[in-house]
């Protein structure tokens, strides 16, 4: 019998495609093949949402994020509030108290000043309510057609209390996975707005700062191993990263994962899986099993965690892999996507 073969691979992988920015496997490949070999050091190689560096006796958390959202305004927020929340959250999930932000603007020629004013006002309000100051910034203008109105980069600095160690490589078999609330709101709100889809009830982004929720959890237990805010790539990418970094398996329980009916309906219509849809105000925590109930209670007592659930367990089997017990009781893989989720034909 002839050897089993498939058509020869034909696609060159020497060009950046949009999928490289999706937070999935293509993004991870860029980090692994391009950035880490060039920049690699002990801090960076932890691949956490923030770097924690020691300066004298202080533990300083640093993170940076760029925001290229389209449309600029969406139900539940805009690019300005998102740029503050995203960076505040990347600091918060490392256990840091967020303190200072930078704001870099890349503005497309032709943007109305009124829009910029609105974006900046909402950044100011978001920073005020998150208790951070925007202390430095930069402005660049690019030609018409070279940007989507405005791109914003924010860098954040925070302080981590001594003794607190949260890191994606610390998950251990037996740990519980906690999720602060329903997933998929942000991604569906953006998609709905971008595609002009009209849902029966408005789906708003969950964009919000998470540092007070984090502080509340940390105040009741020392049993937190790591935390993530599952942004692009969704819950699946965040957990796949933790599973890979900690060399453990993670098993989710489908019936425990909260998804709003509106989001579920939109995902059904669009052929998307909410596990891969972005969130901007949700927290995932991997917690020592003996601390899980206390952490859950702490989450639920906070307004941003009232719908929190224990959604999964860390296993020693299938290291690096996320699986899910489906609502039928069977087990399936929850893979990291290559690039963006693609709308299905039918």
């Amino acid at each position: 019998m002839a050897a089993l073969t498939c058509p020869t691979p034909s696609t060159r992988r020497e060009t950046i495609v949009l999928g490289h920015g999706s937070g999935g496997k293509l993004s991870a490949e860029l980090v692994r093949d391009i950035f880490l070999p060039a920049f690699g050091n002990a801090v960076l190689s932890k691949l956490n949402d923030q770097a924690i560096v020691n300066v004298n006796d202080s533990r300083i958390a640093v993170t940076t994020d760029s925001f290229v959202v389209k449309p600029l305004f969406f139900p539940g927020g805009n690019i300005g509030s998102l740029a503050v929340h995203g960076t505040v959250n990347d600091l918060a999930v490392g256990g840091a108290q967020p303190l200072f932000l930078s704001a870099g603007f890349i503005i497309e020629e032709g943007l109305s000043i009124e829009i910029l004013r609105k974006v900046v006002a909402s950044m100011q309000e978001a920073a005020r309510s998150a208790g951070v100051q925007i202390v430095t910034g930069d402005t660049k203008v690019v030609e018409k057609g070279k940007g989507d109105g405005v791109f914003i980069n924010t860098t954040g600095i925070g302080l981590v209390p001594n003794g607190l160690q949260l890191s994606a490589e610390l998950a251990q078999p037996g740990d519980k996975v906690l999720l602060s609330g329903p997933i998929g709101d942000h991604g569906i709100a953006i998609l709905g707005q971008r595609e002009g889809l009209e849902f029966e009830s408005a789906i708003a982004s969950d964009s919000a700062p998470l540092h007070t929720l984090v502080a509340q959890i940390l105040s009741v237990t020392a049993g937190i191993r790591c935390m993530r805010d599952p942004t692009r790539g969704g819950l699946s990418s965040a957990l796949n990263e933790i599973a890979a970094q900690s060399h453990v398996g993670i098993e989710l329980d489908e019936v425990c994962i909260p998804v709003r009916d509106e989001v579920k309906g939109a995902c059904e219509m669009l052929g998307l899986d909410p596990l891969y849809v972005a969130n901007e105000g949700k927290l995932v925590a991997v917690v020592d099993p003996s601390a899980a109930q206390a952490a859950l209670a702490a989450m639920r007592s906070h307004s941003q965690g009232s719908e929190a659930q224990i959604v999964g367990t860390v296993l020693s089997s299938n290291p690096g892999m996320v699986t899910m017990r489906t609502q039928l009781g069977t087990i399936r893989i929850v893979d990291m996507l290559a690039g963006d989720q693609l709308p299905r034909i039918c």
Binding site: C6, T11, V17, A338, G339, L342, P343, I345, C346
Partner: protein, 365 residues
């Protein structure tokens, strides 16, 4: 959520699985035609619930997977033209053509846009009168009526800058081809519920009679599929050979006559190449002569572009239910969704991608 939760109920599903096990005395091989059904089977692990003597093999009903290589090459050639905006359903963009895919063409500056419906392509055409807008019109009888409607609408508006690159395929001729193969293993079919929502199930009576196989029209949720499997196994065990309809909440015998009419008005039946399978007589649709002005193949002279599949591709056997994706030596090693070697690894509905995403290797308990 209504119309979903009751069809994903674990208790009902397990009860059905127990009933299937009780009814199935002998070994039966069943095929679900549609990629959406394959996706549900793998996503919910339905095959794990079935007794070992009831085996599911996966059919050719993934529209992305069976779109011929040369159609992808034609789409790429169009997208590379500066005067063209190519509009496509999302999951076509990653399908490898002979030398590239639409994502890379887009990255190189090709104007490729993702749409949920051909209506969006019409809107783009109206908004860009100086550009030529081509919609990549692929799929089964499910997407064909909406695509027919787009051509009809374009003609009515005299929208001169709109055209369609058509590669439509039909389900019943594919079933006949599978059943005519000397290698056929399939003893019963789950027909695709959405295709039958359009076409009804009047076309299947002849197949049941000619080939002596039962066909059950099935839906897409776990309980739908388990019910359809139970109906098939009952028929097989009782020696019945009939067309039955499990998906009664959507499908009627006659189907949607308005949709069928627009199909007849705009398209005509033609011989069609299926990726991985080859040419099946009278298994596709092409635009009628009256719509020649909207046929990208004709107006861009694309008919000259042809491409041949490698002769020994296991995707052909996967698409005919003769092999499972895991039988392929390249599966999950050289062939992954990031680097798909064949089309069934590209679309979420492709059998190889469904296995890869949900069942890559044995999951330790």
């Amino acid at each position: 959520m209504k119309y979903l939760d009751e069809y994903r109920d674990g208790k009902i599903a397990r009860t059905l699985a127990v009933e299937i096990a009780a009814v199935a005395k002998r070994r039966w091989v069943l095929m679900e035609i549609c990629g959406g059904q394959t996706h549900t089977i793998m996503r919910y692990g339905l095959d794990e619930l079935l007794p070992s003597n009831v085996e599911l093999v996966h059919g050719p009903g993934c529209p992305v997977c069976v779109t011929p290589l040369e159609t992808i090459d034609k789409a790429i050639a169009l997208a590379l033209r500066h005067d063209v905006i190519l509009v496509s359903y999302g999951d076509m963009l990653r399908v490898p053509g002979s030398n590239s895919d639409l994502f890379y063409v887009k990255a190189q500056g090709g104007d490729v846009r993702i749409a949920y419906s051909p209506v969006e392509a019409l809107k783009i055409a109206r908004a860009n009168p100086d550009r030529r807008v081509v919609f990549l019109a692929i799929g089964f009888e499910t997407t064909a009526p909406a695509n027919a409607m787009a051509a009809y609408q374009a003609k009515r508006e005299d929208l001169a800058n709109f055209s369609m690159l058509v590669s439509h395929v039909l389900v019943p001729p594919a079933i006949c081809t599978l059943l005519s193969s000397p290698h056929n293993l399939v003893q019963g079919f789950i027909a695709p519920g959405h295709v039958c929502t359009v076409m009804g199930y009047q076309e299947y009576g002849d197949i049941v009679r000619d080939f002596n196989v039962p066909i059950v029209v099935g839906g897409f949720e776990p309980v739908d599929l388990l019910e359809a499997i139970l109906m098939l196994v009952r028929q097989l065990e009782n020696g019945d050979r009939r067309v039955e309809n499990q998906y009664v909440r959507s499908v009627t015998y006659q189907g949607n006559s308005a949709a069928q009419q627009i199909l007849k008005d705009v398209f005509e039946i033609t011989d069609q190449k299926w990726r991985g399978i080859g040419t099946i007589p009278r298994s596709g649709l092409r635009l009628r002569e009256e719509y020649a002005a909207y046929d990208a193949d004709r107006i861009f002279n694309l008919e000259l572009i042809t491409a041949d599949e490698p002769a020994e591709c296991i995707s052909a056997q996967v698409l005919q239910g003769l092999k499972k994706p895991t039988d392929c030596a390249a599966f999950s090693i050289r062939c992954t969704p990031e680097n798909p070697l064949g089309a069934p690894m590209v679309s979420a509905e492709g059998a190889c991608a469904a296995y890869y995403h949900y069942r890559r290797r044995a999951i330790a308990s």
